[in-house]
Amino acid sequence: MLRLDGLSKTYTTGDAALSDVSLTVPKGQIMGLIGPSGAGKSTLIRCINRLVEPTAGKVLLGDVDLVTLGKGELRRQRRRVGMIFQEYALVERLTVMENVLSGRLGYVPFWRSFLRRYSGADIQRAYQLLDRVGLMDKADNRADALSGGQRQRVGIARALAQDPELLLVDEPTASLDPKTSRQIMRLLTEICSERNLPAIVNIHDVPLAQQFMQRIVGLRSGRVVFDGPPSELTETALTTIYGEEDWNAMRQGDEEQAEAEADAKTRLEALAR
């Protein structure tokens, strides 16, 4: 279970990216974090594993407060939090297997990781995860030889290799096409429910969030302005989160995109006939 208590972040430039965010994410819950760009979504999830240092507040994972930890202890606690990134953030010149095994870095001594001599159990697990995300045959390919969707699958496998108790997911589908986005979201939610794993997912695509999330938190200028199930995410709620004009523009954009997609689909079907 994750509990954020009064979490705030003010950058040195004086921008208050987060102010007084308090949230509880119980085991097994997939929480979507929506909000306009600059609302502090990225900052929020990066404050949890302290890739960004919060200025105030508590991050309680189980009963450990991650904010007060020293360097060494922070590294050990980071193993409990898996992270998945927007641009996949795979090490491009390493093989898929090395990328998955890099999820074990927090557990193994330097010489083992340097010589790539991971234990049998680690390697077995890595293969198992690759099989789970459907990339068994790509283990020896270099990461930059994969397509976007495949890369994100490797990213998921890497995060799971950590044996995490929490997943932080930063815009997992932002660089993917609509169909692959849905596949990735489906995979993520399946994996989370298989393992009863809580996840915080930053997502800017509202329909996608409504489709896949169990709970949605809306962030606006660093504050929580909505917290509830997707069914309660009404027009009014969205207007509070995105502001009137932006939301209308976004909705129009989404409708246009949906129409365009439907149109393309009928055309393709017509071609196939």
């Binding site: 590294r75 050990r76 606690q77 491009e92 870095l105 990781s113 340097f114």
Partner: protein
């Protein structure tokens, strides 16, 4: 508005000096300065005439290079130079890697950063010939002084370019590795090294042929190698042997150049 109302002429506006009068003054000023400056260069035309003859002999030496009569000297110089080049590149690169990592702002704490950057600055500020003169005075004539000179110069070159390269890595990949709970060494090994290795190898090969060229220069001030052979040949007015040495140097540099560019292409 109709189309005819738009202007039909357009000129690129001046970018640096906006005022037309200033532009004219500056242009005239530059021309006048150039004329005056050229006027102050003293040329001794009779000396130039004498020199032409010597130059001609030099060129003739090139046209009829003599590889045979000084071959043992040339061979020994070459072996010395090549040994010096290879050893100094290996040692220089080996020392450069930790210094380069230390000089990367995104990996090292400030105090280490400043120490490493000053080592690089010192190494880059001193030209090879100056270090060679100094080291020859310290360690005597011969290739050892040359080896030390080239190693020292290599540190400035490789460490600086490596550090700049590390500072430009894709931070996303480093962030992802950091998020797994990796230690600093693991971060360097998994996130930084894969991103910079191809370039480090390319730079090392490039430095290898720079070091060979430099070995010919520092030999002239006593640091051994093919430069010493060349210097002796010129001192003895044996321009045909000197020509042979220069041709060999050019040949080896060309081979190294094509070889390293081929290898670099292969690595990318």
């Amino acid at each position: 508005m109709t189309a005819t109302a738009y202007p039909t002429r357009w000129k690129r506006p001046p970018q640096i000096v906006k005022d037309r009068r200033w532009r004219i003054v500056l242009q005239i000023g530059i021309v006048v300065y150039l004329i005056l400056a050229i006027g102050t260069v003293e040329v001794n035309w009779t000396r130039v005439y004498d020199g032409l003859e010597r130059g001609q002999r030099f060129v003739m030496g090139f046209l009829q290079p003599d590889f045979t009569s000084r071959w043992t000297d040339i061979r020994q110089g070459l072996i010395e130079s090549l040994t010096m080049t290879l050893t100094s590149t290996v040692v220089g690169v080996a020392i450069s890697v930790p210094i380069g990592i230390g000089a990367a702002r995104n990996l090292a704490p400030p105090w280490i950063y400043y120490i490493c950057r000053s080592i690089i600055a010192v190494s880059r500020a001193l030209q090879e010939v100056i270090i060679a003169i100094f080291l020859v005075a310290m360690f005597g004539f011969g290739p050892f002084a040359g080896f030390l000179t080239l190693s020292f110069a290599t540190i400035g070159f490789i460490a600086k370019l490596l550090a700049d390269d590390i500072e430009e890595i894709n931070e996303g990949q480093a962030e992802a590795i950091r998020a797994t709970g990796a230690s600093w060494l693991q971060l360097v090994n998994y996130a930084v090294q894969p991103q910079v290795i191809p370039r480090l190898i390319g730079l090392s090969l490039y430095r290898l042929d720079i070091n060979f060229r430099e070995s010919a220069v520092i030999g002239i001030v006593g640091a051994g190698g093919i430069g010493a052979t060349l210097n002796t040949a010129i001192d003895r007015y044996e321009y045909d042997s000197a020509g042979a040495v220069l041709l060999i140097v050019i040949g080896i540099v060309m081979v190294a150049e094509y070889g390293s560019s081929y290898l670099r292409k292969f690595l990318q």
